[in-house]
């Protein structure tokens, strides 16, 4: 039986100004399969998917759905064709409820009342059919990211998507949540739906996809049956060279206590206790990892330690001295550096030129300033050095930061904080949405820092990352540190602790 493919792309080409995001792409996605797409940051994956979804228009090329050429003028047309998409950056209205978000665009009539009722029933059905559980009346901004993503999937399902595109869905999920998602995707596939999955995690590709395509610098370089390829081959195809997938590191050599946290309690902006009476220490020359499902207080902990959020009570000691001012600048001057979880909103000013971001927070340093003035020459020189050292692409310190891809943006932040040579380094989600080439690089830097005798606190929702880098692992659940494990603790154990089940 020769069934026509769900999606066929022929010669898709797209430019953003001077950036050639997609070059003559050909791709065939068979019906009823899960098709993975991988590629480094900026390879053009999101662009390609957005073209299928009618969000962007290809400059040339053809899209065929179920064998017939279609013109997808806008997302409405894509939805009508049975295509649904979960975007890398969520497309949710944050102050709307789940229900309102799901209904948006398919309200079922000029008045809301009737549509609301039917949407409720449909949501219930999707919940039972696929295990997509979420309170329809919850407001999006109060939901953890994992659930927000579930809402995105619900949106697509609610619109009756036959072809579901997921752009890096697991970046924000715990292993358990990711597994749950994969179960759902398999159910969908078994029902004959087609799934296109973009991810940076080769393990996931191997675990769930049937076919995988690799993109590099705007081109589609290969397509393989998942069963016939290996992680190593994919990594090489992606990066264009061999990559080391395992982090090599020797035993830790812990020294003095650098950071001590005593009975710290932190509330969020709504006054909810997010960190509850937490105590721990970080010593020089060790990496302490904090594992946990997103939304269990890690973010608030990190912000409190970085001087961004005022603790409700408790004590923070840096090098034995109590810190009682909420002042990131002061902490920086004491040798604390911070790679924030959210590079878009915190770590970078997207409209700045690259070199301006590479001194963010350190602009008072005499190395970058002269009296009240900035020393632009020094700043640019310094930025160019970092660009070389961290292989930031494109190598242009005068380019607007918004025009770098996500992975390169992250490198800008990492370079800035690590090159300060701090005594204490706070790291939040260092590789979220970053491709493996860059991950390898960033991980190596972090280990080097440790070996140079720096104290490092690492927060990540990637359990693999925590296990690969940490010397000690603290697990957070519901604001408490529920236990401490060594680096060789099994994934199973940690996973249970993260779910608050065992200690």
């Amino acid at each position: 039986m020769s069934q026509s493919p769900a999606i066929e792309l022929v010669g898709i080409d797209k430019k953003f100004g001077t950036v050639h995001a997609n070059k003559d792409i050909n791709l065939t996605v068979a019906k009823g399969t899960i098709h993975g797409i991988i590629g480094e940051n900026g390879a053009g994956k999101s662009t390609l998917m957005s073209i299928i979804y009618g969000f962007y228009h290809a400059d040339s090329g053809e899209i065929r759905v179920n064998g017939t050429p279609v013109v997808i003028r806008d997302s409405q047309a894509a939805i009508a064709t049975g295509i649904g998409m979960v975007h890398q950056h969520f497309m949710l209205v944050e102050n709307f409820t789940v229900l309102e978000n799901v209904m948006l665009g398919v309200e079922g009539g000029a008045l809301l009342a009737r549509g609301v009722a039917s949407a409720r029933t449909e949501l219930k059905r999707l919940e039972t059919d696929y295990g997509l559980e979420v309170d329809p009346d919850a407001v999006i901004e109060e939901l953890p990211v994992g659930l927000q993503q579930r809402v995105e999937i619900l949106k697509a399902m609610y619109r009756g998507a036959e072809i579901l595109i997921l752009d890096e869905p697991t970046g924000v999920l715990t292993p358990a949540e990711a597994d749950h998602l994969f179960r759902i995707l398999r159910v969908l596939r078994d029902q004959g739906k087609t799934v296109i999955l973009i991810t940076h995690k080769l393990r996931e590709i191997m675990a769930i996809t049937d076919t995988v395509s690799v993109m590099r610098r705007g081109e589609m370089v290969a397509t393989r049956k998942t069963s016939e390829t290996t992680v190593e081959e994919l990594a090489e195809l992606m990066v264009g060279r061999r990559v080391l997938l395992r982090v090599e590191k020797g035993p830790a050599n812990p020294g003095d206590f650098v950071l001590s946290v005593r009975n710290l309690t932190v509330k969020d902006s709504r006054g909810v206790v997010m960190v509850d009476n937490v105590s721990f220490d970080v010593r020089a020359g060790e990496i302490v990892g904090i594992a946990g499902v997103a939304g269990n207080g890690q973010s608030e902990l990190l912000e409190a330690l970085a001087g961004i959020r005022k603790p409700a009570s408790g004590e923070i000691l840096l090098n034995g001295k109590t810190i009682d001012k909420v002042d990131p600048a002061l902490l920086r001057s004491l040798g604390l550096a911070h790679i924030p979880e959210d590079r878009h909103h915190m770590g970078l000013v997207l409209k700045f030129e690259e070199y301006e971001n590479s001194v963010l927070g350190y602009h008072h340093d005499p190395a970058y300033s002269r009296g009240p003035f900035l020393n632009l020459d020094a700043m640019r020189k310094d930025a160019e050095d970092k660009i070389k050292k961290y292989d930031i692409r494109p190598p242009n310190a005068r380019l607007r930061t918004a025009n770098f891809s996500g992975g390169n943006q992250q490198k800008i932040v990492v370079a800035r904080e690590i090159e300060r040579d701090p005594k204490m380094l706070l790291i939040g989600q260092p590789t979220r949405g970053v491709d493996i080439g860059a991950i390898e690089f960033i991980h190596r830097r972090i280990i080097e820092m440790r070996d140079a005798g720096k104290a490092i606190l690492l927060v990540s929702v990637e359990l693999d990352e925590i296990r690969a880098l940490s010397d000690r692992i603290l697990v957070m659940f519901a604001g408490h540190v529920v236990g401490e494990k060594t680096a060789d603790a099994g994934e199973q154990t940690l996973g249970l602790m993260m779910a608050g089940i065992a200690a």
């Binding site: 797209k14 430019k15 953003f16 100004g17 001077t18 950036v19 228009h57 400059d59 970085a306 001087g307 961004i308 002042d327 990131p328 600048a329 002061l330 902490l331 920086r332 911070h338 924030p340 959210d342 909103h345 915190m346 770590g347 970078l348 000013v349 997207l350 409209k351 700045f352 301006e356 963010l360 927070g361 602009h363 008072h364 300033s369 009240p372 003035f373 900035l374 632009l376």
Partner: protein, 371 residues
């Protein structure tokens, strides 16, 4: 392919497109002029001649531009820190009080160049003071600065009228205004500047504050793009969360930015009060604060752009006068309307023609590449 992200050379973006837009604005204005029954070509000639045709016209044009440079800079500085200061009008009004008090106190005793620095400081301090309360409310109480600055415009006006009509007025005089300052309280005219170009300033009140405005434009440029404070303001303006992360103190930065903004607005008063009429009058700002918003936006909040936009508005003011002087049917309201059209085409519709220009440019550039 979409054209939004295709880069164009700066001379097209910053010179050619605005010029074409300006022409469009004048075409529409010309249409209305024609409707009213006057000859648009004659009107345009009169306008340009009146504004730029002789030393006196240029003097007036630059005189008006001076005020707009100050208020434009005032708005721009605040915008860079993410603050929309609609209060330049009121801050300038109060700034007038500052420099008038200095002039009244000193003009008997010292020459103008001694008075001037004190007057600059006085104007700036009073303007800044009027910006301080809204700034503080924004910084500490989160009150929306757009509203509070509007409110302060409305509060400043009665205060000034009260002072002028009941306190500072010269007894027996009709107009609510201070006495005329002596030489020591007046800023000298820039006759020599015009003389350098072999023309005479005539009666135009172009005065030393024009130079002060240029210096301020340079200082603002320095501040915004070359100092740490400017860097902090821009960070705050572009990303408040990144500013928190970077340890940039919110309240302090907001207040300083607004004080600078208010100070610049206050200095605007030097031009009409000490440079032209030599006394403080009711309503002397005459909307220059609001024009400053347009000037800043059209100048892309860059001092150089602001100077250009301010001069454009100066041309409209002065040229408009000249037109309305010679064409009775065209009065000040026609000029107001033309200003609106200029703001509309050069400012709000700035991107309207961009795709066209991109296509033309690409065709030409492509042709060149092929050959």
């Amino acid at each position: 392919m979409s054209t939004a992200s295709v880069p164009l050379p700066n001379w097209i973006t910053y010179v050619l497109i605005p010029l074409v837009n300006l022409v469009l604005a004048f075409l529409v204005s010309g249409f209305v002029v024609w409707l009213i029954g006057e000859n648009p070509i004659d009107a345009l000639v009169l306008l340009v001649q009146g504004a730029l045709g002789n030393g006196e016209g240029i003097g007036f044009t630059l005189f008006y531009a001076t005020s707009f440079i100050f208020t434009g800079l005032s708005v721009a500085v605040a915008v860079h820190a993410g603050l929309f200061n609609i209060g330049s009008e009121g801050q300038a009004y109060l700034g007038g009080l500052g420099c008038a008090l200095v002039a009244l106190a000193l003009d008997h005793y010292v020459p103008w160049y001694v008075t001037m620095p004190f007057a600059i400081v006085g104007a700036a301090i009073f303007g800044a003071a009027w910006a301080f309360v809204p700034a503080w409310l924004q910084a500490k109480r989160g009150s929306h600065i757009v509203i509070t600055t509007i409110m302060f415009n409305f509060i400043g006006a009665p205060l000034m009228v009260y002072l002028l009509a009941h306190v500072l007025i010269v007894p027996g005089k009709m107009a609510p205004e201070t006495r005329t300052f002596l030489e020591g309280g007046q800023l000298p005219k820039l006759d020599w500047l015009m003389a350098m170009f072999d023309t005479t300033i005539g009666s135009a009140p172009l005065n030393v504050s024009f130079l002060i405005a240029l210096v301020m434009a340079f200082l603002v440029w320095l501040l915004i793009w070359r100092t740490k404070l400017g860097y902090e303001m821009r960070t705050l303006g572009l990303s408040p969360t990144a500013a928190v992360y970077a340890g940039i103190p919110y309240a302090r930065t907001v207040i300083i930015a607004m004080l600078i903004s208010g100070g610049l607005a206050g200095m605007m008063a030097l031009n009409p009060v000490m440079g032209s009429s030599a006394r403080l009058q009711v309503e002397f700002v005459g909307g220059a604060g609001y024009v400053g918003i347009a000037v800043a936006l059209m100048g892309r909040n860059h001092p150089f752009g602001i100077i250009l936009a301010a001069i454009l508005f100066g041309v409209l003011y002065q040229g408009g006068d000249a037109v309305s002087f010679d064409m009775p049917e065209i009065n000040r309201n026609m000029i107001l309307m033309i200003q609106g059209l200029v703001i509309l085409f050069v400012g709000a519709l700035e991107f309207m023609l961009r795709p066209t220009f991109v296509r033309i440019y690409q065709t030409l550039a492509g042709a060149r590449a092929v050959s």
